[in-house]
Assembly symmetry: C2
Homo-oligomer: 155 residues x 2
């Protein structure tokens, strides 16, 4: 069915949702962060339709989230690697992990833990203000038009 193009709205939530706002894309990105690179690896681990996977990988490549790289010549074979833009999406996945751990995990605890390779310690993501390093209380927040807001539009 048709889908409204959210990418054009002057809102970063809409623009990001235009990209991530579907069932599979966050999970494809999760697999990419896990180190998965090849088409059949994605397909096998995700139990996703191959046509859907193809469509999503193409979309992520077009948006420069993943880059399609040849890793073998005979026969020609490609793999999908995260770009810097793609790697930065880890923060969104981390926020999803944190919220899911807090609100959807069963009594046993989180299903998965993030671990720092160097220190061996469990990492718990938290969203804070970059300046004060304090959690952001939505009740204390207002929104206003930023420099990139079109002059002829309403909030």
């Amino acid at each position: 069915m048709k889908r409204t193009d959210l990418g054009k709205l002057p809102c970063s939530i809409a623009r990001t949702s235009n990209l991530l706002g579907d069932w599979w894309t966050p999970l494809i990105l999760r697999e990419a962060f896990y180190g998965v690179r090849k088409f059949d690896e994605f397909a096998g681990r995700l139990k996703i339709g191959r046509n859907v996977l193809t469509q999503r990988l193409n979309r992520l490549t077009d948006e420069n989230i993943l880059v399609r790289k040849r890793y073998q010549d005979k026969p020609l074979r490609y793999e999908y690697r995260l770009t810097d833009k793609g790697r930065a999406l880890f923060d969104v996945l981390a926020a999803m992990i944190r919220w899911g751990d807090d609100w959807l995990a069963e009594a046993a605890g989180p299903p998965i833990e993030l671990v720092d390779i160097n220190t061996g310690k469990v990492i718990r993501p938290i969203v804070v203000d970059a300046k004060t390093l304090k959690p952001i209380e939505p009740r204390n927040i207002d929104v206003r038009k930023g420099p990139g807001f079109p002059n002829n539009m309403k909030l």
Copy 2:
């Protein structure tokens, strides 16, 4: 069309994506954070199909993200308010805002700014480790099974 139920996977990204992973839900939540409560307010601001809006609001209510509250008796009228569980989703939206600002905003800058009501200062979200308060570098991260991971499943 049919959709794979991601809510059952032992992964917080999948569980959270099961809820947020569609076109409209993040935007509905955005409006809720903006203070929108009534059905027609959501509908008017979002240009969303009324059937889709109904379905999403019901889903969010079922999941205790929003609570449907009577605010008038004659005639009977309801509004949708964020719960604590719903308010906590602000962190995911904040991470989306930050990523969108960094990677999708045009040269003019972010379309929207978050502002602290009390100090009047612009807030820039960032995702850090709760203990070290340092940004999380995905290259330094590994994943392992957490306490809530089922014994009979693979990562």
